[in-house]
Symmetry: C2
Subunit: 461 residues, 2 copies
């Protein structure tokens, strides 16, 4: 796979994120909390846009998917049925000398990598965060923070089916926080103990699962490409049989060229009937589906595209980052898809002269009714353009003295750095057109990115 430029070093991204307010270390003033992160003003804006783009593509624009938002705290029985209580564990070893802890399956030697000390025998360590509900801390009150959003969907399958009167195939989508007490974390927001997922559970008739699996792999790859990730920075990892999780019939990871190397961005799994069978068994409730067309009862199969919000955030950030020489100077620019950019527009009065500020603030107020818009009047226009480039703002609107005479302003575009002069009265419409013209909003489902000659197979069955 050709790599045109090397990925941006992680340190540069971390530095940009902290300097401009995308991401801060959690509990920063207390020295930080390992592997938990707070999203600052720009980070929360980008994250909201990213989640909105997913929800739009996966729920709003589709005929066959509805949304759900289940609680983080669930009955322990859910996690017994799913296999998490018994099996969601990693082998933990500890150095007898320096007491650092490691995942045994990630170590390449049997001595401590830090000090060379001897390691303990591995013990299985469950990754679920445990807490107690109610005033007594005993076995009966144990509750877990969900380690995945998926189970909230499975246990609501019947509720959703009955209240929406849906027929197969149909999906239930959910976004929300999950928690895993990872032994080793790291690579910035790539692996953290608190993270956010975007999961779809797509319920289908057994036998149609291979076709739907291919469809969703293609669909999800498309989503990243349409939102600006370079195709050559995406690839697949096809799980071999021995790699498959206990619930999966097959699984493809979409992998991305992260700053720290190629790694999983999203997993698409064919979970078969495993989940509904388990929950039917443990709850004593039938989770069969009655197919009115074929007059059959069966347990649906499930195709699951499971994406991480934080990993996607990191992917979009790192893939859009560029250092470019322009006019003898190097500019840092985030070529973010406009639908993801934290601010859609920056409003810049040429100077702090009162007339200009008044006019600029009026433009700012008008545009804010439609988008998140930033105002900046500090330092030279060139410096301000650079500041907006660095955070990915697609359009800068400059108000100058000429504007007060002719009612026109300059709109400067981030990527090509072209400038056009437009009437203030038409500004809203022009920017709306520019933003609406972006690929995201003309994205039709089922594309041709999967592999040449395979298009037909990847279409919705």
């Amino acid at each position: 796979m050709p790599e045109t430029t090397p990925p941006v070093p992680m340190e540069k991204l971390v530095s940009l994120c902290q300097r401009r307010g995308f991401i801060f270390q959690s509990s920063d003033i207390y020295g930080g909390l390992a592997s938990c992160w707070d999203y600052g003003p720009l980070g929360v804006a980008l994250k909201r846009n990213l989640k909105e783009a997913w929800w739009r593509a996966m729920v709003q624009e589709r005929e066959d998917v509805v949304g759900l938002d289940a609680a983080i705290l669930m009955q322990a029985k859910v996690w017994e049925a799913s296999g998490h209580v018994a099996g969601f564990a990693d082998p933990l070893v500890e150095c007898k000398q320096c007491h650092l802890r490691y995942r045994a399956d990630e170590l390449k030697a049997d001595k401590c990598p830090a000090c060379g000390g001897e390691l303990t025998q591995p013990r299985m360590f469950n990754l679920m965060f445990k807490t107690f509900m109610g005033p007594v801390e005993d076995e009966a009150s144990i509750t877990y923070l969900r380690p995945e959003t998926a189970q909230g969907i499975f246990v609501n399958f019947e509720n959703v089916l009955n209240t929406t009167r849906r027929k197969l195939p149909f999906g239930i989508a959910q976004m929300g926080k999950s928690f895993r007490n990872e032994i080793t974390t790291g690579n910035f927001i790539f692996r953290s103990r608190e993270f956010e997922q975007m999961e779809l559970e797509f319920f289908i008739k057994p036998g149609t699962d291979e076709a739907w699996f291919r469809y969703w792999v293609n669909e999800r790859l498309n989503w990243y490409v349409k939102l600006g990730i370079k195709r050559e920075h995406l690839d697949f990892h096809v799980h071999e049989h021995r790699e498959l999780a206990h619930y999966a019939i097959s699984c493809h990871d979409i992998i991305f060229r992260f700053p720290h190397g190629w790694a999983e961005l999203e997993g698409i799994a064919n979970r078969g009937s495993f989940d509904l069978v388990q929950h039917a068994k443990h709850s004593g409730k039938s989770l069969d589906y009655y197919d009115e067309d074929t007059k059959e009862h069966y347990v649906p199969y499930i195709i699951e595209p499971s994406a991480g919000v934080d990993r996607s955030f990191l992917a979009f950030l790192s893939d859009s980052y560029a250092e470019e020489v322009a006019g003898g100077e190097t500019r840092v620019v985030l070529h973010l898809h406009p639908s993801l950019a934290p601010y859609k527009v920056a409003v810049l009065p040429l100077s702090r002269r009162e007339q200009l500020v008044t006019a600029a603030k009026q433009v700012w107020a008008d545009l804010r009714r439609h988008w998140l818009v930033v105002y900046d009047d500090a330092q030279s226009i060139g410096r301000r353009y650079r500041r907006q480039d660095e955070i990915g703002t697609p359009y800068c609107v400059t108000i100058d003295f000429q504007s007060l005479e002719d009612g026109q302003v300059t709109v400067r575009e981030r990527d090509a750095m072209d400038q056009i002069r437009v009437p203030i009265a038409a500004l809203k419409t022009i920017i709306a057109d520019k933003l609406a013209g972006e690929p995201l909003f003309t994205f039709t489902h089922g594309g041709q990115i999967w592999k040449r000659g395979e298009e037909e197979k990847a279409k919705a069955p």
Copy 2:
């Protein structure tokens, strides 16, 4: 205060929510998890709209507020500094006979209300959910699920100030889950152990706090009224000195006439400098603000409007619920503000004849690019209108045989039940205009709802 009609009984709301897929009991198939709730397809749509309306009014449309999204897991030191480890507790008593547990401060007698048994002496029970981070369960690894989102803002004050180069007054807004291990819960989603908050922390110069406090009380009351809550179902509870939390200089609750009675919907508190002083002391970091205009150093005061997503959800739902006699039949209708309604439009082919279905699905696909839109072709048009009324869909678009000839469809409005005939080509624009014409989008800050003659005082200082 005049009450025109009695509030809808809670059972009716619960029944509607379960029947139509607004809200399900968490872990329902396992018998439920007390006081945790899952939002179904309609519930998540309404909740997303509600949060979006808050974010729009509190962040996007304002000059002086930025967003944040801090982690749920924070260092224990944060909760020591805030006073939660020592003081966030309720007095717990248990019946020696039937072992039911109660909050001592909520009991009216000293015998068990269930069986008349003798109660234990009260002991203070901390309401924070505790968990352990990392593989060892000891004192050093204790972490808490945040019981409020506010502290995530306080500890990031300096980070946000430095990266956004803001000047006082300015605010930081956050939405997210919080957790409280309540002894007694209930009244549906009114008090639950897992809930979602929408909090603004507004940082100001000491001495301007009374004026800003009044401004925010007014502003927040306005928000509910503009989104459709009847003014006569809102009131204030002004905290007397003995009721105030340890951090508060003053506090007004906005109370609402819930199905179970008048109760707190949102609290607006003047927190003074308590929080920043505490975190400065415990972290050893200065959290002073340098005021460039007056050349002073001081610790900002904070005004906090703190709203609950779930309580607001319940308030909007119950206040919009009506049973109306129309054409000899009783219809249930949710008169939800269009910006909150789960679906903006329902598309209804008159029958399942192929030509109608094809035309209707084309209209559906076009509208879905802009809004969440539902399609329904089951049973009579009258029944379908009723189903949409019951979930608050503001507009129904009916495609009939005439539509195939003249390219026009019928748009039926939920509240007045008026019907107009419009060209399909103009449908999108007409609905967009109807939705955009709603009060939400022309809402200007600082209104006249507070109290006659008090408008001036409630304006932004």
